[in-house]
Amino acid sequence: MLAKPDLTTAVAGLTLPNPIIPASGCAGYGREFARHFELRLLGGLAAKALSLEPRRGNPPPRVAEAASGMLNAVGLQNPGWDLWVRDELPWMLEQGVTLIQNIVGHQVDDYVELARRLDTTAVDVIEINLSCPNVADGMSFGAEPAGVETVTAAVRAVTSKPLWVKLTPQTASIAATAAAAARAGADAVSLINTIPAMVIDVESRRPVLRNNTGGLSGPAIRPVALRMVNEVYRSVAIPIVGIGGIETVEDVVAFLLAGASAVQIGTAALIHPTRPVDLVSDLADWCRDHGVARVSDLIGALELW
């Protein structure tokens, strides 16, 4: 009988019990999952995006089917800071799970103000979502290194909490945006967010999504995410949280090998609600079957040709 493998992983000094984290927007604030498994069994919980003011989100339809994936245009619906602090935060803190709070804004000041406020809470990690369109130029903050650097540096200045910067794949060079985040003081980069996409109903001659476009997620984007994780791993000295189409334990291992220190599970958890917690035990089994004593030994262990 082999010893229990060590599943712990460290992301820039923060030790997680295991590398499996439900992705932001695919786990709400944890309540729905908590009815079916204990959140503290997870490596962490990336809670749904939070903005200063409440956001109603986009009109429906907000989801469209795609080949090996889906598009969503939820529009970052969330209760806003005040209700979140009152109704969601206390409950989340009781769950004993590492809490990664994702934040969004329309301008740099929004991110800064949210980070300033979060800094005074017991939230474990601030994850800034840079896929949001910038009110100034309409492009996402994450599209260019300069935008990433500006937002990251501004947030860094107001918080000493671990800061994860979530990058969009819609950029000329993910290595360049990741490097910008690193320069500006990010503790880790989370990648990738969804890829902007469109599905059309040819009968009605309209996009299926009321928002016209939405973000593509699921297995369809997995090879793109994996390449980006490895590209950043090879060129930027910053811990990586890998995200994109992860469904099975082999997918988890592939992201770790490519260089991720932890992973987030998005769409797969919408279809298989207990998948995140199942992957924790699958990963333990995989390590045992493969004689891997410590999950952390897998990180970046990919051998390139």
């Binding site: 079916h36 989100g57 429906p60 279809i271």
Partner: protein, 275 residues
């Protein structure tokens, strides 16, 4: 923490054709069958689509530890589900959502049209078991589309079948059906003790809700919206619901699919209140 796992593997027991366009699948799902309440739904995986498909729980058989769903072919997902045969296995999430709130009423008037009729048999059966007065008005495009007549007849004290193209009790739409009901039937109970439970196309539900309001009846509607998860985490299944200070998007899969009609902001009204 819920005892049953949300995701279960179902064995397909039977696939029965209900009409030229509809089939009923009976699925062995002991825990879900035990837990299911009228108006709840399930999400069914299939071999052709990435996302699951939401379907109303149309029947529960405790002896056979099964529940059944009925559907018509719409796209790839329903077409694939309709091909399932005895012995096949699929994974299912459920039971999901908040169903009909019917216990506080003396009479239930179930009104259905199209595939919406499948959300009603379990309601009528439960209301009947609770000794409530049960009335049912169902609309079908044509006579050949009539489904589950025996079950509706058994569970409804009064059953009125409506068809657009004729050949059933009333020719017209369900509103014509409701208007054709004997007024004395509708007046047997205090109006606020009568529930109109409606499931069907949105314009129909809206018209029925208006009629119910005119009569002073309570009215609940079961909404449909595109869903990714079905259990409340993804917030894709948004519908507009009135709040004290305006409106908000609620989740069809979680706060619904059954809503008080008075709370629902229909699409046409909705456009007016867009931000």
């Amino acid at each position: 923490m819920d005892t049953g796992r949300l995701e279960q593997t179902a064995l397909v027991l039977t696939n029965v054709r209900l009409s030229p366009v509809a089939v009923l699948l009976e699925l062995r799902l002991p825990e879900m069958a035990a837990a299911a309440r009228p108006g709840q739904f399930v999400m069914l995986a299939n071999r052709r689509s990435y996302l699951r498909r939401p379907l109303a729980i149309c029947g529960v058989n405790h002896d056979r530890r099964s529940l059944s769903v009925a559907m018509e072919a719409k796209g790839a997902g329903t077409r694939d589900l309709m091909e399932l045969a005895h012995g096949d296995r699929i994974t299912v999430l459920g039971p999901l959502g908040r169903g009909w709130r019917f216990s506080d009423f003396d009479a239930v008037i179930a009104v259905g049209g199209g595939t919406g009729v499948y959300a009603l048999p379990t309601l009528l059966e439960a209301a009947q078991a609770a000794r409530q007065n049960t009335i049912c008005v169902l609309g079908f495009r044509e006579r050949s589309r009539l489904v589950l007549e025996d079950r509706f007849r058994a569970a409804a004290d009064t059953l009125l079948l409506v068809s657009e193209l004729g050949g059933l009790d009333v020719t017209g739409n369900v509103l014509d059906g409701l208007r054709a009901l004997d007024p004395r039937l509708l007046q047997r109970h205090a109006p606020e003790r009568t529930l109109v439970a409606c499931c069907g196309p949105a314009p129909m539900m809206r018209a029925v809700a208006d009629w119910a309001a005119q009569q002073g009846f309570a009215c609940q509607v079961s909404l449909e919206e595109r869903m990714a998860c079905g259990f409340g985490v993804c917030r894709t299944c948004a519908c507009r619901v009135r709040t004290d200070d305006g409106w908000t998007y609620e989740r069809v899969c979680h706060e619904g699919p059954v809503f008080d009609a008075a709370d629902v902001i229909w699409e046409e009204d909705g456009d007016a209140c867009e931000a």
